[in-house]
């Protein structure tokens, strides 16, 4: 069986500059895949390339297949048909993703008017149903409000309502909870999680917080400097990360835990900062910040797939000594 969303050798470039390079991964129906990495790692560009929403001057190459259909070769008209219908995206900033001049109900129902050709009345009713599915207590009232009258969490749920309107097969969520309070973050994550259970859709969850990804996802992909550097199941990645970057992120995440005291201790950190686009070293993009750097790192290692996991590293971390697993599940 082929995966619902299959990305092969995806590159995104801006002129001569390759911002995302040779990224391959699959997301199956009913599966939740987390994409982690810092700003500049190329995770948002990857999602935008999948959606066909890259800005001017950016070009995607490689292959993005949705079922049997090659998206990168599809016409803009066809992509418009698919976007919001078969594949939907939830953005980080609901305040800028929603139109401030239109009522929430109109915006949630718009997807159905466009893709399902519902009348204005029918779309309004559907929007109210969708708002109640994303746990609005008084959906009729909220449908008549404008985005600025909603709280951040409500706006994010309204955006999710609009994303799920046409029962998309694939949902891409780009840092959907980063701007939210913790208790609201939890509700939004639970909501996304439940939608995958109920609808069997494929979820690609982009996040910078490894803890969030470990709570929601089945598999994790780590990106750095526009490259996929590691992927595997949550337990493989948390118990036994092989890439030094994943390991470093994990070490920080572990040391900074709500459930364990680390008062005043030195946190493990990664030296240096993420370079800006075009300033990553040749070869492995992480080598300048890596404590396992070897001569070979000046050439980018191939992504090698074994045992349902993928790794691009010349000198991987081996053994479990460096990590002791997450908190008991």
């Amino acid at each position: 069986m082929t995966a619902l969303l299959s990305v092969r050798g995806l590159s995104v470039s801006s002129g001569p500059l390759e911002l995302v390079r040779d990224v391959s991964f699959d997301v199956d129906a009913g599966e939740r895949v987390g994409l982690i990495g810092e700003s500049g790692s190329g995770k948002s560009l990857t999602a935008l390339a999948v959606m066909g929403l890259l800005g001017e001057g950016l070009r995607a190459s490689g292959s993005v297949r949705l079922g049997d259909e090659e998206l990168l070769e599809a016409s803009e008209l066809r992509r418009c048909q698919l976007r919001g219908d078969a594949i939907a995206m939830v953005f980080q900033e609901p305040m800028s993703a929603l139109n401030p001049t239109r009522r929430v109900g109109d915006q949630v129902g718009e997807t159905l008017r466009i893709h399902r050709h519902l009348s204005r009345k029918a779309a309004e009713r559907a929007a109210v149903d969708l708002l109640s599915r994303v746990e609005f207590a008084e959906p009729e009232r909220y449908a008549r409000m404008y985005p600025h009258e909603l709280s951040g969490g409500q706006r994010q749920r309204a955006m999710i309502a609009s994303a799920i309107a046409c029962d998309p097969g694939v949902i891409l969520a780009d840092e959907p909870t980063t701007a939210l309070d913790v208790t609201v973050q939890r509700r939004v994550l639970e909501l996304l999680d439940r939608l995958v259970d109920e609808e069997g859709c494929a979820l690609l969850l982009i996040a910078h917080d490894l803890a969030v990804v470990s709570e929601v996802c089945d598999r994790v992909i780590t990106m750095y400097g526009g490259r996929l550097v590691e992927s595997g199941s949550v337990s493989q990645i948390i118990n036994e990360p092989h890439h030094p970057y994943t390991q470093a992120l994990l070490a920080t995440s572990k040391a900074l835990s709500v459930s364990e005291s680390s008062l005043g201790s030195q946190l493990p950190s990664i030296p240096g900062t993420v370079p800006s686009a075009g300033h990553f070293p040749r070869g492995c993009p992480f080598q300048d910040r890596c404590d396992r750097r070897v001569e070979a790192c000046q050439v980018m290692p191939e992504v090698v797939e074994t045992d349902n996991r993928a790794l691009a590293c010349w000198n991987p971390v081996v053994g479990t000594s460096a990590s002791g697993g997450g908190e008991a599940a």
């Binding site: 208790t183 973050q185 999680d193 803890a211 470990s214 709570e215 949550v234 997450g326």
Partner: protein, 267 residues
């Protein structure tokens, strides 16, 4: 160490009166009392709308309470004229959340760091002080000649911290200083803060919604919810044995690293 608390917040209520005919009043804080001892690192946690930012503005004497009082080392600071606050301004400094907007991108780092020294009439050799400050945040002296926009987010936050350290403050108020930073850089800045608090014997008020960061950095904590103080105590006690439902809810909602997916709290 003296017995006088660094801050005494006594029954503080802050009401914002909105203008216009309807003139709705919003109660941002209600009857808040707590103290901060010298050398203490106090975490102020709560979600948006809890009054965290109002509280830090009151501690900085940028706002005056509607009722109640804020004392700094025994003296009431709220409602004082700005010229009477010069010593206070020297002793209490702030680091903001977003170093992209808190530093003027058109100023050179030298001027960014020298500006508070000039404004507070602190008589020092500027060049030397700037070098010292950059060294204390582990930045090269050559950074002084460059502009803030030429630095990454983490480096800019270092510059913002150096700027706050300029007047040799006793208290650092940090309002979400790491939440805009990348994960790998966040740990560097937290380590830097830990070191500075120790080396300069700083008292710190750390405002954050991130419970894990507060647990790492603060020895005591105040939990706010909708303008009210819900719970306060030593960080260890509050995190291990929260007395209030809201604190428990906040702790349960914080994401935890798991080896197997699952959204229900593990404890």
């Amino acid at each position: 160490m003296s017995d006088i608390p660094t801050f005494e917040v006594d029954s503080v209520t802050k009401v914002y009166q909105s203008r216009g005919r309807r003139g709705q009043a919003v109660e941002a804080l209600r009857d808040i009392s707590f103290t901060v001892a010298p050398g203490q690192s106090l975490g102020v946690v709560g979600e948006s709308g809890s009054g965290k930012s109002t509280l830090s503005r009151l501690l900085l004497a940028l706002e005056r309470p509607t009722s109640g009082s804020v004392r700094y080392r025994g003296e009431v600071i709220s409602g004082r004229r700005e010229r009477d606050l010069r010593d206070f301004r020297r002793h209490v400094q702030i680091v903001f959340q977003d170093p992209m907007s808190s530093l003027d991108p058109r100023m050179r780092v030298h001027d960014l760091l020298a500006e508070p020294l000039r404004a507070l009439h602190i008589d020092v050799d500027e060049g030397e002080r700037v070098r010292e400050l950059l060294a204390s945040v582990e930045m090269p002296a050559a950074a002084a000649r460059r502009y803030a926009y030429q630095f990454s987010g983490g480096q800019r936050q270092r510059i913002a911290i150096a700027r706050a350290l300029g007047p040799s403050p006793e208290v650092l108020i940090a309002d979400e200083p790491v939440s805009a930073l990348d994960v790998s850089v966040r740990a560097q800045i937290l380590n830097l803060l830990t070191g500075l608090v120790r080396d300069f014997n700083l008292t710190m008020v750390f405002v954050s919604h991130d419970m894990a960061v507060v647990r790492h950095l603060c020895d005591s904590v105040v939990v706010l919810y909708r303008g009210r103080l819900v719970e306060t105590g030593a960080t260890e006690e509050v995190f291990e044995q929260p007395r209030e439902d809201y604190t428990r809810e906040l702790l349960a909602a914080a994401p935890r690293l798991r080896a197997q997916r699952g959204l229900t709290p593990s404890n």
